[in-house]
């Protein structure tokens, strides 16, 4: 119960193919996030699972039920798929009270009055909106509206939950709060969840597993840790992480990669001569010292952006600009000298031709 299987899904609008032969399985109870830039096909994928869009090819299975199969001629409409879906716009019916928004679908299911009342009370309680039952959506704040949309799902108790960028209309502070409550929702309902977002922080904080999509194809799938630390290709490496990863194009010289202004140590399996490679290192992985150390490279500070807990530093060596992330609120004069170094195991290497991560293929 609760498994989602997508099998060879193809979807195009006119000549533009937006989802290209997608295979995907979500395990029962799993929280899966589909992450990608806008137009990558992630929302279309979600809408196809919900039944709001029809694939051109392929099969979709929910639990042990086939809900779409082009080859078997099966199309189960969204009304009969028994899912829960949260929209970016919350999609609360503006002409109905909170209570009616929550109970409309329950009445459709012909539940008993006492059952409906109990579920309503329970749902409002869980999202901390007890006492708001008779309000209209327009009388609620953005965060409260969001919670009503969540309560509507809680009351319906679907075994599969779909969420389409549910947090993108909220301000930054509320977003952190709502992330926690969505995680609680997932835990309470024990529902298989597919969450679509372009926000990597949501993806990393919420998910058991993340799928990164670009141009209708899966670029990588893995746990948030794997995605962050072992990006499968340059697209993922660049897409994940804020501030963005540092990329250095260079040519191998035995055990180092010569990137012009800087040199990067190479792992043994990549040691060679005259091979073009791209090195990538996350800003927080760069080692930094305020005093000179042997073998470290001297850089000059250009721009400091303290964010409170951390500070983003833009430093320069020759023509190369490097982004660093250091804990604490750092105050340094512009042009101050720093020394940096790279730990060999924190660097990823990519093939400029295939764009793939070389180390992970080597492992």
């Amino acid at each position: 119960m609760g498994q989602i299987r997508l099998d060879g899904i193809v979807k195009s609008y006119g000549k533009e193919v937006v989802v290209k032969n997608l295979d995907l399985t979500v395990q029962p109870g799993e929280f899966l996030t589909i992450l990608g830039p806008s137009g990558c096909g992630k929302t279309t994928t979600l809408r196809m699972i919900a039944g709001l869009e029809e694939p051109d090819e392929g099969n979709i299975q929910l639990g042990d039920r086939m809900v779409f199969s082009r080859s078997d001629g099966v199309v189960i409409p969204p009304e009969a798929r028994g899912l829960g879906l949260i929209f970016q716009s919350y999609a609360l019916w503006p002409h109905m009270t909170v209570a009616r928004n929550i109970t409309l679908a329950l009445k459709e299911k012909k539940l008993s009055k006492t059952e409906i009342a109990a579920r309503l009370e329970n749902a409002l309680d869980l999202v901390q909106l007890t006492g708001y039952a008779e309000r209209y959506p327009s009388e609620l704040s953005g965060g409260q509206q969001q919670r009503v949309a969540v309560a509507r799902l809680i009351a319906l108790r679907p075994s599969i939950l779909l969420m389409d960028e549910p947090l993108s209309n909220l301000d930054a502070k509320l977003r952190t709060e709502m992330r926690a409550s969505l995680k609680r929702l997932h835990r309470d309902l024990k529902a298989t969840t597919v969450y679509v977002t372009h926000d990597q922080i949501e993806a990393l904080t919420l998910s058991d597993r993340v799928i990164i999509m670009n141009e209708g194809k899966i670029m990588q799938e893995g746990t948030p840790f794997e995605i962050y630390h072992h990006p499968a290709n340059i697209f993922v490496a660049e897409f994940i992480g804020d501030p963005g990863i540092n990329l250095f194009h260079g040519v191998t010289k035995n055990s180092t990669l010569d990137c012009g202004d800087i040199t990067v140590p190479l792992p043994e399996n990549l040691a060679s001569a005259d091979r073009r490679l791209i090195a990538a290192i996350r800003p927080e992985k760069v080692l930094v010292s305020e005093t000179e150390k042997p073998g470290w490279q001297k850089v000059s500070t250009e721009i400091l952006q303290p964010t409170g807990a951390d500070t983003i530093l833009q430093v320069r060596i020759g023509e190369t600009s490097i982004t660093l992330l250091q804990p604490g609120f750092i105050t340094l004069a512009e042009g101050s000298k720093l020394w940096i170094n790279f730990a060999p195991d924190s660097i990823s290497f990519f093939d400029p031709e295939t764009q793939d991560n070389l180390r992970s293929t080597a492992d």
Partner: protein
């Protein structure tokens, strides 16, 4: 990665699997089903009739035996075509009405546009006095039949030309009013213009209210003078509205029947509309069909020329004036004179006609306007053989009360069907956006716009005078009146429906779908409540139009299905001036009464502000 070759799994087109897949798909997409049904229905009631009269126009009819006794009834003939265009009779049948119609159309459109534009500018862009009152009063003509002014004109200027009584002017001065003042081109143009300015006013003031003053201020900051700003910035933005006002007015004038019939036919001044009526009455349907086709061709080419000149493809798009009123220029010492001009204008177009009709309805002997001649007979009389062929007064007159019932029934039925059809067309068009079906449906729902009213009436005679398959002959029934009214109003209601549906975000329905709520409940619980305000406005408009319509239904009414407008026309033809005046007043009163009730009810029900047009 799996190979893409799975495409081969797709079942063959004729296989049972593919059939079940397509059936599932269709079930999954109610908008497709509605779209197809609506398309078939509209095709049947709009396109088939058109083809039908083209066919009929070139078919030898039984009544043609009078001209060609050896003709083959039912065979192909160019007889009607020849009569209308190439015979000595063509001058009276075609060329004179053509010139009259065109001259009338151009003159009325020009005057209505100038008047409507000036009033719109005054109301939206200046600080003229009594704006609120004027705003409500200026749309008043919209609620009256277009020929009320013509009736009033006759009360005022009627001479002894057609016998019977004479008008107020003759009564007071004792001299006969010359024919060219009492009848024909001049009064027709004047009275029509004083009605149709309301359309231009509504369209242009709506557009004007949405022209952002910031755009003009941007022009001012780049050093443009006031007139240059109006010419370079404001006018181009208003062009679509002006274009639709021109097209709307012109096509309506081409199809209008009441006024040219009342003021033109007595002096044998025929327009296309009255000529079509005369031909049908003379049992020369074939001629009437050809004339109706010419009228449609005229309307289509006018739309085409207009869009060419104005350069806006969809110049007929009506705008709704959800106005943000700002930047009113100060009229200064002209504030009062401007207000007085508007008051005078309102007196002439609204108050004077109604007062004249009231007075007329209270005179015992027609043409005698003295106080001693006043009577309530025509309102409350029991029936007296010495007066008006023994026809009882309004409240005791079964014929009138039946026609009133019919008018109200027609108004409500048309409003209801139009509302439902507009909703469904809007739903299918908006949900199916981008697909061919959606575009076709939108186009065909708009098609009745190009049929001038009288031509559509002629088409419907041709179509429904015999039974077509399971559908019985509808001629002479009440159903045909409802049908034609619904179809004629469809361009406007479907537009309202589309606009209302566009305002309902797709996710509001999708979220209900995913939660397992079926289509009917989605419609009744979500779509209809959310589109209610637009729908009610559109339905009220249809109601008013249906109640006051004559041109559209004049060819289709018979004693069995008569409505008030038809009855009034009949009284007028029999020179029963008091009866026609009294019934006209009653009609106007009912239209106003019911619109006020609907507005109050919808306001109480929390339905938003209504907009006209």
């Amino acid at each position: 990665m799996a190979p893409v070759s799975r495409t081969r799994d797709r079942p063959a087109f004729w296989s049972l699997r593919n059939f079940s897949y397509q059936a599932y798909r269709l079930k999954n997409r109610p908008e497709l089903i509605i779209g197809v049904l609506a398309l078939v229905f509209l095709g049947f009631v709009v396109m088939v009739p058109l083809l039908q009269i083209i066919k009929e126009a070139f078919t030898f009819q039984r009544y043609d035996l009078a001209y060609q006794p050896d003709g083959n009834v039912g065979g192909f003939t160019l007889l009607h075509f020849d009569r209308v265009f190439f015979q000595p009779i063509s001058k009276a049948l075609f060329f004179k009405p053509l010139i009259n119609s065109l001259m009338m159309g151009v003159a009325v459109t020009a005057i209505a546009l100038v008047v409507g534009f000036s009033l719109a500018w005054l109301m939206v862009r200046t600080n003229v006095h009594f704006k609120g009152t004027f705003g409500a009063m200026l749309v008043f003509p919209y609620m009256m039949p277009s020929w009320v002014m013509a009736l009033a004109w006759l009360s005022l200027f009627k001479n002894d030309r057609i016998g019977g009584s004479e008008g107020l002017l003759t009564y007071m001065t004792g001299t006969q009013v010359p024919d060219w003042v009492a009848y024909g081109y001049l009064p027709i143009v004047f009275t029509l213009a004083m009605h149709y300015y309301a359309y231009a006013y509504l369209l242009i003031s709506g557009a004007l209210a949405t022209v952002d003053s910031e755009l003009e201020e941007a022009g001012a900051t780049s050093g443009m003078g006031k007139w240059k700003r109006i010419r370079v910035i404001t006018m181009p933005l208003l062009m679509p509205a002006i274009g639709s006002a021109i097209v709307l007015t012109f096509i309506r004038i081409l199809g209008t029947f009441g006024t040219p019939a009342l003021l033109g036919m007595p002096v044998r001044f025929f327009t296309f509309s009255t000529q079509i009526y005369a031909s049908i009455n003379a049992r020369n349907q074939g001629d009437a069909y050809i004339l109706a086709l010419v009228l449609i061709v005229l309307a289509v080419s006018f739309i085409w020329i207009n869009s060419r000149i104005i350069g806006v493809r969809k110049s007929y798009v009506t705008m709704t004036g959800k106005g943000f009123r700002k930047h009113e220029s100060d009229l200064g010492k002209w504030r009062w004179p401007a207000a007085i001009i508007v008051i005078l204008f309102l007196c002439i177009t609204v108050a004077l006609p109604l007062i004249l009709l009231l007075w007329e309805s209270l005179t015992l002997i027609p043409g005698n306007y003295s106080l001693s001649n006043l009577t309530s007979y025509f309102w409350a009389g029991q029936g007296n053989m010495q007066l008006a062929y023994g026809e009882p007064g309004v409240i005791h007159n079964r014929g009138i009360l039946e026609a009133l019932g019919n008018s109200i029934k027609l108004g409500f039925a048309a409003a209801l069907f139009n509302g439902a059809l507009g909703l469904l067309v809007g739903y299918a068009v908006v949900r199916g956006r981008g697909a061919r079906l959606s575009r076709w449906l939108e186009a065909i729902a708009f098609a009745p716009y190009i049929f001038p009213s009288i031509a559509l009436g002629a088409i419907y005679i041709g179509m429904f005078s015999t039974n077509i398959g399971p559908i019985p002959a509808l001629y002479g029934t009440f159903t045909i009146l409802i049908l034609i009214t619904v179809i004629k109003n469809l361009p406007f209601t479907s537009r309202t429906g589309i606009a209302a549906m566009l305002q309902i975000h797709q996710s509001l329905e999708e979220t209900a779908r995913v939660q397992g709520i079926g289509w009917f409940r989605r419609m009744f619980r979500i779509i209809i409540p959310l589109s209610m305000s637009g729908l009610v406005a559109g339905m009220l408009l249809t109601f008013i139009t249906a109640m006051r319509e004559l041109s559209l239904i004049i060819l289709l009414i018979s004693p069995g299905n008569n409505v008030l407008t038809g009855l009034i026309f009949g009284y007028q033809e029999q020179d029963m001036a008091q009866h026609s005046a009294a019934v006209t007043l009653m009609l106007v009163m009912f239209i106003i009464l019911i619109s006020v009730i609907v507005r109050l009810m919808s306001r109480r029900a929390g339905v938003g502000k209504l907009s006209v047009v």
